[in-house]
Symmetry: C2
DNA sequence: AATATACAAACGAACGGCTGTTAGTAGAGC
DNA sequence: GCTCTACTAACAGCCGTTCGTTTGTATATT
């Protein structure tokens, strides 16, 4: 069973999810139609349903893949013995790199997750809240042992997570500075105001 | 003629635009239907067209109202004789306050402007680019006379403008710190890393 | 004061078009 | 011959919007 590989590197479903990611990023989940998607894949709309169950399933795949990657990295960093300020920096750098390498799915997950329906909607929403709370926890730990100046941790999380979204603009701007340069600049600006 | 005031404080069109703002913010422009909007206003969908020309006109009103307010404030600050770093801080504070007071329309304009169609789409897009360039200009001026440390100005603009969007989460979170407190926290975090 | 005129604003019905999705079927590759 | 995948055709439902008409009300005329 399942020799349904497409071309060279994955199942047809994966090809569809990738095309959906690009399309959803460009038009938004609601505005992107299954017929648009079919055209992008090079097939009729009905044919998509040999590989997927529904339009929403595509959004689920995207959202939870992104969520899992972030949660996994978070575990790794949280369990390390870095000082708190370095943990924050590491998470920030990971966010920035994900935004460089997989920005389309990161943006779709961040912008269109509200179009999920329960139980996926609640699940994702809860994960999102939990993630922010954990991140704020690291910052508060840093404040507690004087690595980080006493700022409101949830505010810092708010700023950091949203600031990274700005990289979307960078992706389609003409005169790009290098990725490394942008990363270092962002980290500098965002963490310099934190240090005690 | 034209005593078509609704209830006490504005034309019916204004009432519709306000309801549309709330609805678009909640569901997104594409996902919000004219029948949804009609119900929110307390009227049949067809009746809306006695007051507006199209669904897109509503989006136009929202987007350009927001754009005009920001551009106006920008002129005022740019023409002042504040030091560059203070101009940046003033703009940042204005963004934050707009986000507190009119966050629904600010968010709709920022998230759904892509659903405008030409010529409004190009117009808005150009204003957006110009705004960011002007803001970067202020920062570069500050770098030139050593008020601001030598960072990449477009990156700072990216971060600042997106960071402010985080206030949306604050609006619907349970345990709010005060608006003033959040504003000061954001300004501190965002500007401390900039000072030379 | 009663009636006629004018017009804004509401309505139900309907439009063509697009939506996500299903059914049934034909062909390709093992 | 069996499985997988593509197709065409069609579905029910929602979309923004238009139509013709009725309702409500403020003003002008008698």
């Amino acid at each position: 069973m399942a020799k349904i590989k497409s071309k060279n590197n994955g199942t047809k479903k994966e090809v569809i999810v990738e095309a959906a990611t690009r399309l959803f990023r460009e038009k938004g989940f609601k505005a992107a139609s299954m017929r648009d998607l079919a055209e992008a894949v090079g097939v009729e709309a009905a044919s998509l349903y040999n590989h997927i169950q529904s339009k929403e399933e595509l959004l689920q795949e995207i959202c939870f893949k992104v969520a899992n990657e972030f949660n996994q990295k978070f575990d790794e960093i949280e369990n390390s013995d870095l000082p708190s300020i370095k943990k924050v920096e590491a998470m920030l750098r990971f966010h920035i790199r994900q935004m460089f390498q997989h920005y389309e799915m990161v943006i779709v997950a961040d912008r269109d997750w509200r179009h999920l329906s329960d139980p996926y909607l609640s699940n994702f929403h809860n994960q999102r809240r939990a993630y922010r709370k954990r991140l704020a926890g690291i910052i508060e730990a840093g404040i507690a042992n004087n690595e980080i100046k006493p700022v409101d941790a949830p505010t810092v999380v708010l700023i950091m997570l949203h600031a990274v979204n700005g990289i979307e603009s960078w992706h389609r701007s003409r005169e790009k500075i290098s990725a490394k340069q942008l990363e270092d600049n962002m980290v500098l600006i965002m963490t310099e105001g934190l240090k005690a």
